[in-house]
Amino acid sequence: MNLGFALGHMMAQASDTASWWKPIQASTHATAVDNLFNFIMYLCFFFFVLIVGAMVYFVVKYRRKGNGPERTSPIKGNHRLEIVWSVIPTILLVIIFAWGFKDWLAIAVVPNNAMEVRVTGQKWNWTFTYPKEGIVSSDLVVPAGQPVKLVMTSSDVLHSFYIPDYRVKRDVVPGRYTVLWFEPSEPGVHQIYCTEYCGTSHSQMLSKVKVLDSAKYEEWIANGGEEGGASAVPLADKGQKLYEARGCVACHSNDGSQKVGPTWKGLYAAQRKFADGTSTTADENYLRQSILVPGSQVVAGYANVMPSYQGQLNDKQIESIIEYIKTLK
Amino acid sequence: MTQPSSSHASSAGHHHPKYLAHHFESMAQQNASGKLGMWLFLGQEVLFFSGLFLAYVLARIIYPETFLAAHELLDWKLGALNTIFLLTSSLTMALAVRGAQVNSKPQMFYNILATLLLGGAFMVVKYIEYSHKFHDGLLPGHFFDATKAMHNGQLANIPGAPAIFFAIYFVMTGTHGLHVLIGMGLMLWLLVRIKRGDFNSENHVYLENVGLYWHIVDLIWIFLFPLLYLVR
């Protein structure tokens, strides 16, 4: 990696998306936040050039030339100047504060017509529940142009829900509900991150917001949370998608390599030895039990760290995952 | 030029008191430094305990009914007895400092001894209280045992989070008790030094500092007692 390549890469990106260093503006908040960001940035440029420029100028102009002592100015201060450079920054800072406060109120106050989605953070995935429709999803699917209110909680440690393209972020705290809202401008797909450190696979705790136009969204709801023609997809393929999307992949490998939990490769129909000395064959019932009540049968050599997926996966989804495990031989 | 110390140069011809450390110029400077240092340390102590008081206040705001019910399981009579012990010990401590100012070795010695014994009495009462709590399973966190928590011969029923109340009780009184023990250790050392004749009206900043420390330990108890034993 050299600088020239990096700059070239940067320029290339800059030309097609104009976002090589800023995320795109995909919500109503984004524009407001960016405007203030730019204002502060120009102000910073100005003061940086002023301070460092003066510094460089003085260093060049007043550099000691010879070895002998040179006469220097007896200035100890200047009240007028000191007042000026205290008062002007103060005024600018108050302006920035007030502007930020105004925009922030808009981010904090949820509009009345917002649709509600429940969000649960747990190590290391997100679950989105649509309370009215009874849909449980691993991606946040929302209609464009509609305010969305997220009511969020965590089932273990602190997480934080962050969508850079929307400029929104809120901590997800166990034992209490936090709220976040946004209004996506148009259909598209945006990245969701966890930004509060939460352990081993913190950096894999990713998900997507899928913004659909209202017709497609209605279709999605009608299909029970499946995108177009759900029945056409084989169960095992759906299982593989869930494996990746719901965070199974963070702890269970599908190729036999070692992770936090046992690998799924060759799991089906294998003999399982448990920490308490008992053993059983890994059939459908065992797999289902392990997903819903993981602590009931802990495989020897592994820690009891897996959270329960009770209420997070429906029966059909569990079935898909089991079918997927069967294909991993 | 081989003389390493500059004190000879600066204070030549001056009287050099026995207890003046080499880096100070005068006893007044040494005493004032000692006292200022102690006050700063006590400021630090107050902030240390203020963190605990803050935890107490927040827990009490969240679980007012727990605090009301759980304080019944503390024996306010023993608490009051301990308050009397500590208040009296503050008086004897002050008398000991007075003894130093009037150069009375017996007044110093017996008052410090009395303070030490009163502190010991406080710890004995504390021990009795703690052993009751241990016996009744009134312990912090997951050591709390609701099946043993007795009150007036009946099984106590404490709403909310009794484990948090007893955690706060033990952390606050335990930290305070540790301070009492440290104070008693300091007093043993004071007794040795008084016997040796180290203190007089000119040099007793150590005695005074231990006194200041003891008063702050006393003061913290004055806050702890009503907050834990006399909840309304």
Binding site: G77, S86, G100, G175, G199 | F48, G51, L58, H142
Partner: protein, 562 residues
């Protein structure tokens, strides 16, 4: 003292009569004389060795973290591109980097090492007020460091240096030894603070009034106040955390009825003022370096001295700006944001005053001054980018991204560490009696400066783009900037390695240092290099301010003002 206007007579004096006088290093011999010393200069030197050793340890952790973030560049057994470390290993690495750098390096760096060495010298005192307490706080520091190292040896911690609950109460047991270590280090910090405040109040030489104190002393004073008042709150917080973890108390754990956000309030009540414990001494250093090398009075002495104290006081009231997204009340966030901007004003005053000090001077560009100028450049960026994070709406976007990482590295590393290394160059001749190599000093400064900007400016861009911090892996779109940043960190490491080399060279074969190589006016330069055991041959009496250099031409116009 008044007769010491120029250096030549002193050097001659040092070369002839002073040559026979034992200095603080060779006055007593043997390892035992060092282990039991109560001499503030020896203790300062011992702290310096400790701090620099831990700096190397923390730096190696940092380079490992940056190497991981090159991306999936290694071919694994399965033939796929793989990352260097697993998530767990990476989490331990960044936690240890943070914990070691904050608690063992930056907090004690300037106060405990240079403060201990120079504070009594600058005051014209023979020692700090409580020399035995000073020795004790050194051993407390070592004990705390040992606990932290022990926790590394027994599996290490993966909580981040912030120990946020409930993660920290549910993860590995090493957390207990680590927080015990930090708890103990806190007491070292408190005791040093008490010692310095009393020393400044009670041990000043005759004639050394408050307005004649070098600004380094003022900065140490403000720092010590925070150390004494904020550290106990951290101590009690960590004690509660340890009790919670061992006994399952539940003050912070929501499963047991506690409040996890409460821990954040407790933690930041200490840790935000701790930021000022880290940066205020650097301000003091820069005030010394810029005046001495500009041969001028500092611009606005009182404004700079008072702004240190103002920052210390307001610094206690801004902790909530770490928690804008945490779920604290909206009103609280608004108040904390406003107070945060209030801290920016005294900081801005300082920067303007330092630049104005150079106006009309006769600037000597030695390597200490190079570091001083690098500080001004980097700290200006660090300070200005704080405005983005203090602003409520913009912080929602930037919180817990690489923007924050870049911001505090510009302040802590670009600010404090640059000033610390600059201070080492400035005072090295006094401490060791040897001169440093000026040429290599400038080369290393160049590498540090370039490497630093490459490392951390990239991170501003990463953060703005939405790259979250504490990520062991990342999406491909971030890779270019991450690789640039890693490249910069190697340059930075190289710069510090060069510094280490010529410092060792100086100890072995450096030129003998005169008493006052930079022609400074503060008292530490009035004694031999290195100083004699009891600091001064004769009790100094002060008759002038700390920056009244002989070059100042009082016949020149002052251009208004005073």
């Amino acid at each position: 003292m008044e007769s010491n206007r120029n250096n030549a007579p002193q050097s001659a004096h040092a070369a002839t009569a002073g040559g026979a006088e034992p200095n603080y290093i060779n006055a007593h011999k043997g390892i035992w004389s060092w282990m039991t010393t109560v001499d503030h200069k020896r203790l300062g030197l011992m702290y310096l060795v400790g701090v620099l050793s831990f700096f190397a340890v923390g730096g190696i952790f940092a380079l490992l973290v940056r190497t991981q973030l090159l991306g999936p560049i290694f071919k694994g057994a399965s033939g796929k591109q793989e990352w260097l470390f697993s998530g767990d290993t990476y989490n331990k690495l960044f936690t240890l980097h943070g914990a070691v750098m904050v608690f063992l390096v930056i907090i004690p760096s300037i106060p405990a090492s240079l403060g201990n060495f120079f504070l009594p010298l600058m005051l014209g005192a023979k020692d700090v007020a409580f020399p035995k307490l000073n020795l004790m706080s050194f051993y407390v520091y070592i004990l705390g460091g040992a606990f932290l190292l022990f926790s590394i040896a027994t599996g290490a911690i993966d909580t981040g240096w912030t120990f946020y609950t409930p993660y920290s109460t549910t993860t590995s047991a090493s957390v207990i030894s680590a927080v015990t270590g930090v708890f103990i280090l806190g007491f070292s910090s408190i005791l040093t603070g008490v010692n310095f405040i009393v020393t400044i109040h009670k041990m000043r030489a005759p004639g050394l009034t408050w307005t004649r104190l070098p600004l380094f002393v003022w900065a140490q004073y403000a720092t010590s106040l925070i150390q004494v008042l904020a550290t106990p709150v951290l101590a009690i917080t960590l004690m509660l955390l340890a009790i919670e973890k061992t006994m399952g108390v539940g003050i912070f754990d929501p499963k047991l009825g506690g409040d996890p956000v409460l821990f954040q309030h407790f933690f930041w009540f200490y840790s935000h003022p701790a930021v000022y414990i880290m940066i205020l001494p650097a301000f003091g250093v820069i005030s010394e370096i810029i005046t001495v090398n500009s041969r001028k009075q500092i611009f606005g002495y009182k404004a700079i001295a008072m702004s240190s104290v103002a920052i210390a006081v307001i610094g206690f009231l801004v902790w909530g700006h770490h928690m804008f997204t945490s779920g604290q009340s909206e009103l609280a966030s608004a108040v904390f944001s406003f107070l945060t901007f209030a801290v920016a004003v005294p900081t801005a005053i300082k920067v303007f005053s330092w630049v104005a000090t150079m106006y009309g001077g006769s600037i000597r560009l030695n390597s200490a001054m190079w570091y001083g100028l690098a500080f001004l450049f980097l700290f200006t960026i660090g300070g200005l980018t704080g405005l983005f994070l203090g602003t409520l709406s913009v912080d929602i976007h930037l919180h817990d991204t690489y923007f924050v990482v870049a911001h505090f590295h510009y302040v802590m590393m670009g600010g404090t560490m640059t000033a610390f290394v600059g201070a080492l160059h400035h005072w090295w001749p006094k401490m060791t009696g040897r001169m440093l190599n000026e040429f290599w000093g400038k080369i290393s400064c160049f590498f540090v400066f370039t490497g630093f900007n490459l490392t951390f400016f990239s991170q501003f861009l990463l953060g703005t783009k939405g790259m979250p911090r504490r990520y062991a892996t990342y999406l491909p779109e971030f890779q270019t900037w991450h690789q640039l940043s890693t490249l910069g960190s190697y340059l930075l490491g190289l710069g510090f390695f060069i510094t280490l080399c010529y410092m060792i060279q100086s100890l072995i074969s450096g030129a003998k240092a005169p008493r006052n190589p930079w022609g400074a006016r503060s008292l530490e330069w009035e004694t031999d290099s290195p100083p004699i055991e009891h600091n001064f041959h004769v009790q100094p009496v002060v008759k002038h301010g700390p920056y009244e250099f002989p070059e100042i031409d009082h016949s020149m116009s002052t251009g208004g003002g005073h």
